[in-house]
Structure formats: C-alpha cells, structure tokens
C-alpha cells in the first residue's frame, strides 16, 4: 500500500533563515505531488504541484520554491523566510486511480 512521509512535524525558524521541507511517497510510481498551505482561516491553498521529475507548476507567487529531484520526492524551499510564511504545510500525492492523500503536515512558525 502507498504511504507518504513528511518531515519535520514542527519547525521554528527566524525571519531570513532558509527552509527545506521534504516529502516522500512509497508504494506508487510517477505520482502527482502537491504542496498545500493551511493558514489560520483553515482553507487549504495549493502552492505547487508536479506531474513528473523536474516538472513544477506554481499556483501563487510567493517566497517559496519547490523541486522534485526524484520520482517520489518533493521538496519545499525558501532562501529567506518571511513572517507571512508561517502556517501548516501539507504534502499530498495522487495517481490516476485515487484522489489526494495527504502527509501529516509540518507546522512552521517564523519568528
């Protein structure tokens, strides 16, 4: 069966520091991968999605970037964090046979 791993679970970073969040999927090949952010208002906002290695689509302009160096690995990065980057970040995957399945999320606090 498929599993998705996301880490770290929580992170506190100062403004201006870099960020790297990692997500890996097991048990499936060539999944679609997604990064969502959930802010205090509770809606989930799609940040990036990827349909294959090296293919990244950005949904909203922001201070973040994403990369997919391997088929089942998705990384969310920033060179310099802003206070507004605080939030709950969720990685997710899908394939032609299933809707989105989410990782457990990373709660990021930028201080």
């Amino acid at each position: 069966s498929q599993t998705i791993h996301q880490w770290p679970a929580t992170l506190v970073q100062p403004v201006g520091s870099p960020l790297s969040l990692e997500c890996t999927v097991e048990g499936t090949s060539n999944p679609n991968l997604y990064w969502y952010r959930q802010a205090a208002g509770r809606g989930l906002q799609l940040l990036f999605y990827s349909v294959g290695i090296g293919q990244i689509s950005s949904e909203v302009p922001q201070n973040l970037s994403a990369s997919r160096p391997q088929d089942r690995q998705f990384i969310l990065s920033s060179k310099k964090l802003l206070l507004s980057d605080s939030g709950f970040y969720l990685c997710a995957w899908s394939d032609p046979y299933s809707p989105l399945h989410f990782g457990n999320g990373t709660r990021l606090t930028v201080t």
Partner: protein
C-alpha cells in the same frame, strides 16, 4: 476562478444529534467533488462524488451531490465525540490528464460535546 463555499463555518452539537454540512461551488468544467475530515494533522479522504443524486454512504456518514444546483451535503447521524473535526469540501475540474488539483473551501469546524 473556481469557488467553494462551505457552511456553516462552525457548529456545536451534542452526541447523538444529526448534522448536515453544506458545500456550494462554482467551477468551469466540473470533474468531481470531494469531502475530507481533518482532525489534528492530515486530512483524510471521505467521499468522492461525480454524479448527481447518487448517495455515497460510509457508516454514519453519507453525502450527495446536486450538479444542477451546484452543491453537496455531508450528513452525519448519531454523532459521536470522535466526529469532532474540520470537514473540508474540495472540487476538481477537467483539465486533461490525471491531475487532481483540488480547490478547497474553508471548512466546517464541527464540535460534538458529550
């Protein structure tokens, strides 16, 4: 732009009550509507609806879609404290391929008191 509106935004009930959560939407080229339950961390998948009028059921939860009036409801009967969660409604559109980009509503926060 795709739009998903959930109501109410929050709801407090007592164990044993029945609740109905609402989700209305606007989308070009609708593909599916999904419901998720989010407790502390990852949203977990509940239902995917693609056709009008066909009820999906899982235990005490059920959901139905009305593609003419552009809404869906999620019913929970005989609520339990374990049903306390945020319930998220999301939709996908036909954009070619198997891409499941979801547009989410803000969610309904359900609190079930003993």
């Amino acid at each position: 732009e795709d739009k998903v509106v959930q109501s109410p935004l929050s709801l407090v009930v007592h164990e044993g009550d029945t609740v109905t959560l609402n989700c209305s939407y606007e989308v070009t080229n609708f593909r599916s509507l999904l419901w998720y339950k989010q407790e502390k961390k990852a949203p977990t998948f509940l239902f995917m609806l693609t056709s009008s009028g066909i009820e999906k059921k899982s235990g005490r939860l059920s959901s139905i879609l009305d593609k003419k009036e552009l809404f869906s409801i999620l019913n929970i009967t005989a609520t339990q404290t374990g049903d306390s969660a945020i319930y998220l409604c999301a939709l996908t559109r036909n954009s070619g391929g198997s891409n499941y980009k979801l547009t989410f509503g803000k969610g309904t926060l359900l609190t079930v008191n003993p």
